[in-house]
Symmetry: C2
Subunit: 315 residues, 2 copies
C-alpha cells in the first residue's frame, strides 16, 4: 500500500496514524508544535518536522491526510503547496464542501479525495486516539464528477485498512446529510436544555432518561459546537427552516408529525439491522461514478476493494 | 400504614401493587376484564372484582390509587362515586391538571392528592411491572392550596414506601414542567427522525450515536405519544412556541443558543450530582405548604417523613 503522511495528531489524526500503522502501512506524521508530538514519538511513531514530513511525502508520492480543524485548512494547504503542486490528498474534516473549495483555490492540481470518518468520542487529542476507533464505523469518501477513480480507490483503501466501511457521497450531499443528522440535533439539544432550565429547577428535577439522552450533546464545549455548525452554516440554515416549519405544523396538528417521525425512526432501525444485498461495482466501467454514488444514496457501504471491483452491501 | 386499593394493573399500577406489598402495606387491586388479572392472581396478589375492591376500600377507608390511562379516568371516578363520596384518592397519571379537574367535577368531596412517579420502561403491562421500578426515582406528589397536609402525607408515605423520593409541586406547574422535559423532547425526536429520513438514505447511513440518542423516543408507538401529548396540549403548545422562537433565534445567531443550552445542560448535571443540603419542614406549621413547594421549585426532594416532619435534600 502507498505510504501515508498524516498532518495533525488529534483524536482523528492520531487514530488514523495508529490504525494505518497497525494495518502495515508505512506512515509518518507532523503536527503543530506544543501538541502531542512527544507522546507519539515516545510510542515509536515517526513524527517529523512539518517541512520534513511534506518533503518525504512529495519524494515518495505518499497519500497526505489532512487531520486539522477546518480553520487551519488554508494554512496547511499553503504549506503543502510549497513542496508539491499535485499531491495525492485526503482529509478527515467533518464538513466537505469548504475543504473542497479551499483545495480548488490553493492546490488546484491536487489529486484530492475528501473523507469523513463517522467516529468520535467525548475526549479529544492524541491521548484519546486509538487504532480501533474506526472499526466497523462508516467513513464517507467523496466523489465529485472530476474525481479520478484511481485516487478515490487509494483513499477508500486507507479507510478500509483502518477497519471502516466506505460510504461514497458528493461533498455537497455529505454536508446536507450531516446538517440533518449531526448539526441540527446539536441545535435541538441546546434548545431543549435551555428550555428545561429556564423556569426554576422543577423541570430539571423531574427530567428522566429521555431528557438526558436528548440533551447529552449540549454538554459539548460551546466553541466546538460553534465551529462545527459555522463550518456548515448554509446547509444548517436550510434544515433549520425545515425544522421550524415542521414544528409550526406540530403546533397545528400533532398526528402527522408523530406518524412521520415514527416512520423515520423505523427506517433508521431497518437500515441498521438489514443484512443487506451484495453488489459489485466495476471501477473501470464508464458508469462506475454513478454506481458508487447510488450505493451511498441507498444507504449502502463499500466493504472491500478487490482488484478493479468495489464490493458493497446495500440494505 | 393505611391499606391500599390499586385500580389498574399495567406497568405502573402493577409496580405500585408489587412495591407496596413488598413494603408491608396491605394492598388489593382491580383491573378491567381481559387484562393481566389472572397473572397477578397466580402470583398471589389479591385481585378483586372492581365493585368488590371499591366496597372494601370504602369500608376500610383505604387509599385508592388510580392507575389507568387518562381517557379512562372519568369512568373510573364515576365507579368510585357509586361506593363513596369522599375517598382518600391518588393517581399515577402522567398529567395532573386534567385529573384534578375531573376529580373536582365528579368527586368534589374526594380527599385527592395527585401523583406522578417519574419512572417507566419501554415495555408495558403487568408482565413488565416490578417492585423495584420506583427505587431511587422521583415521584411528584401534588399540592394545591386546598390540599390537606394529612392526606398529602399519606400519599407521600406510599411513594416513599415504594422506594421513591417525593417532589412536591402544583398540578399546573407539574404539567408545564413535563411539557418541557418530556413532551417537547418527544416532538423534537419525531421532527429529527422525519428530517433525517426525508431525502434518501444517505443521512440515516451517516447517522451515529448522537442521532440515535436524539431520536430514540420516536420509536414509541405513535398512539401512545399522541395520547400523552394530547393530555397536556395547552402546556405543550406554549413551550412549542418558545421552541420555535429559540430556533428562529438560532437561525439568526447560533452563539447565544449554544451558550445558553450548554448552561442548561451543565445545570442538569449539577443538580444530579449535588450532594444537597438537608432541610426539614414542620408539616403542622402554617407555612408548610409554601415550604414544601419551595423545595420542588429549587430542585429538591423529600426523602423521608418522620412524625410531623418532612426531611428534604435540596441542591
Amino acid at each position: 500500500m502507498r505510504p501515508l503522511c498524516v498532518l495533525g495528531l488529534g483524536l482523528i489524526g492520531g487514530s488514523v496514524l495508529r490504525a494505518a500503522t497497525a494495518a502495515g502501512i508505512e506512515a509518518w506524521a507532523a503536527s503543530a508544535p506544543g501538541t502531542d508530538i512527544e507522546a507519539a514519538s515516545a510510542e515509536g511513531f515517526s513524527v517529523l518536522e512539518p517541512s520534513e514530513a511534506l518533503r518525504a511525502a512529495a519524494e515518495r508520492d505518499a497519500l497526505i491526510c489532512l487531520a486539522v480543524p477546518l480553520p487551519a485548512v488554508d494554512e496547511v494547504l499553503s504549506n503543502i503547496a510549497e513542496h508539491t503542486s499535485a499531491p495525492l490528498l485526503t482529509d478527515v474534516v467533518s464538513v466537505k464542501q469548504p475543504v473542497l473549495d479551499a483545495v480548488r483555490r490553493i492546490l488546484p492540481d491536487a489529486r484530492y479525495v475528501g473523507g469523513h470518518p463517522m467516529a468520535g468520542k467525548a475526549e479529544s487529542g492524541w491521548s484519546a486516539s486509538s487504532a480501533e476507533l474506526f472499526t466497523g464505523a462508516d467513513w464517507a469518501v467523496c466523489l465529485e464528477p472530476e474525481t479520478e477513480l484511481a485516487n478515490w480507490r487509494t483513499v477508500c483503501a486507507l479507510a478500509l485498512a483502518c477497519g471502516a466501511r466506505v460510504v461514497p457521497a458528493g461533498a455537497a450531499e455529505h454536508d446536507r446529510a450531516v446538517a440533518r443528522i449531526s448539526h441540527l440535533p446539536h441545535v435541538f439539544a441546546e434548545v431543549l436544555a435551555e428550555l428545561g432550565a429556564r423556569n426554576g429547577a422543577l423541570p430539571l428535577r423531574l427530567a428522566a432518561g429521555s431528557f438526558s439522552d436528548a440533551t447529552r450533546v449540549a454538554g459539548t464545549r460551546p466553541e466546538l459546537v460553534r465551529a462545527m455548525c459555522d463550518g456548515n452554516a448554509e446547509a444548517l440554515s436550510e434544515v433549520l427552516d425545515s425544522a421550524i416549519e415542521a414544528l409550526r405544523g406540530a403546533r397545528e396538528a400533532l398526528g402527522p408529525v408523530i406518524e412521520s417521525g415514527h416512520r423515520g425512526r423505523t427506517e433508521l432501525d431497518r437500515l441498521r439491522s438489514a443484512p443487506g444485498t451484495e453488489l459489485s461495482v466495476d471501477l473501470t466501467a464508464p458508469e462506475a461514478h454513478a454506481g458508487l454514488l447510488a450505493i451511498g444514496e441507498r444507504g449502502g457501504v463499500i466493504t472491500a476493494i478487490d482488484g478493479e471491483h468495489a464490493h458493497a452491501l446495500v440494505p
